[in-house]
Amino acid sequence: MKRKIPLLITFLVGVIIIISEFIPHKPFGQISGELEKWYLIIAGFAIILGQLSLFKVNLFKIRHRQKNWQFFILTLLSFILMVSIGIFWGTENHPGIFGNGETISNTIGTKPFDYLFDNVYQNLQATMFSLLAFFIASAAYRAFIARTLESSLLLVAAILVMLGNTSLGSALTGWLPESLKFLHLPRISEFIMKYPTTAGQRAIMIGAAFGIIGSSLRIILGIERSYLGGK
């Protein structure tokens, strides 16, 4: 029962959604629309489950004094801080349970949630991702060794695209006469993006889509059951 009913729910819901595409009339269209709204609500609870699970895992690490446990206290504190001020005084367009917190907003210039978001969260996020600029450079040093034709194509395509999108690329080939304009670096970059890159991306998209379609069918038909847990 604990496995058969969920499998039946998955089958029925999946089949109704697919049928509603071909018969968009009552009752399929209506049920499908309602199911998609339900999905949004349950997915919202799933996100909250994820956050609470993170809280639980960190609490476990602290309680059992696992390696670097002191740092996880900060995770919990910052989580509690962000959630509390968000729920108490709301966000930019939403009041919290204590209203809009005008007194605090007048003092710090904005709502506390937005203050924390703009000054701490956004800076942390942007720096964390910008850090990848350094690592991507070292990855490029290792990947861009023209040993084979394949790696040479990778190297040439990356360099041409990067050069073509900078002012340097434009300056390097800006002197070319009108008859050789197709060799202008920005135009080569545009050509690479528009044709061979699109072709490669299209092949990947089609291949991946067949994989997703196959997996969806396996789930709907109950062949793939790993999402239920256990064997």
Binding site: P6, T10, V13, G14, I17, W38, Y39, I42, G44, A46, I47, I48, L49, Q51, F71, F72, L74, T75, F79, L81, G86, I87, T91, Y115, N119, V120, L124, A126, F129, S130, L131, A133, I136, A140, A143, L149, E150, L154, V156, A157, A158, I159, V161, M162, F191, I192, M193, P196, A199, G200, R202, A203, I204, I206, A208, A209, I212, I213, I219, L228
Partner: protein, 213 residues
């Protein structure tokens, strides 16, 4: 007072920027502090976002404002609470029911969405006359588009051994995929560098005032 908090905000930003950049030297406690604060704030942000932008408009507001017309939303609400029971090991199995509904809906939606947008639409866009629509550069490009897509798809067919004419075709597909990966890498590298430039602008402009923002 507002000016003080504005300056404090910039200093907080600078502090955390340097804390994250300290990882370039090596993994250190300062970086770990910033990293964990980022994880906590990120989780907290999405928690609040989910409440204000998903649950309140789609569940709580309709139930409070017109219960008679929206009582059916109690079903996903109950399923949502059942989902949260996964946090307790003894009642974790209850979450299988809402998960089944989410997985079933996702499978149905993905089946249709990917079939339409990533298979039919992409194949339709590839089925064109390459010899129309412009000068010789465009014609070469369009031929490359057709050949690249077909050979790329052939490369992804692993049920047949890649040898002979089939293997040679798949090899051409690899070349197109490599160009695609190279271009994607170039774009990613540029996006990351532009983020780095943004951080430098923040440090040199907003913080030190050496350059105008």
């Amino acid at each position: 007072m507002e000016h003080f908090f504005s300056v404090l905000g910039i200093w907080l930003g600078v502090l955390f920027t340097f804390a994250i950049f300290s990882f370039l030297y090596k993994d250190n406690p300062v970086y770990k502090v910033a990293e964990q604060i980022f994880v906590g704030l990120s989780a907290g942000y999405w928690f609040v976002y989910t409440i204000y932008f998903i649950l309140i408009p789609n569940l709580f507001d309709p139930l409070i404002n017109d219960f008679a017309g929206n009582w059916i939303k109690l079903i996903p609400a109950v399923l949502g609470i059942m989902m949260l029971m996964r946090l307790m090991p003894k009642t974790g199995w209850v979450s299988r029911f809402p998960i089944a509904l989410v997985i079933g809906t996702t499978s149905g939606v993905f089946f249709l969405r990917y079939l339409k947008s990533d298979v039919i639409n992409q194949l339709t866009a590839t089925m064109m006359n390459p010899f129309t629509g412009g000068d010789w550069v465009v014609i070469i490009g369009q031929i490359m588009l057709i050949v690249g897509t077909l050979t790329g798809v052939i490369y992804f067919y692993f049920s047949k051994k890649h040898e002979g004419a089939f293997g040679a075709t798949a090899k051409v597909g690899i070349y197109f995929l490599m160009i695609s990966f190279g271009a994607a890498f170039g774009y990613t590298a540029m996006a990351r560098i532009s983020l780095l430039i943004g951080r430098l602008q923040f440090l040199l402009g907003d913080w030190l005032g050496i350059i105008s923002p």
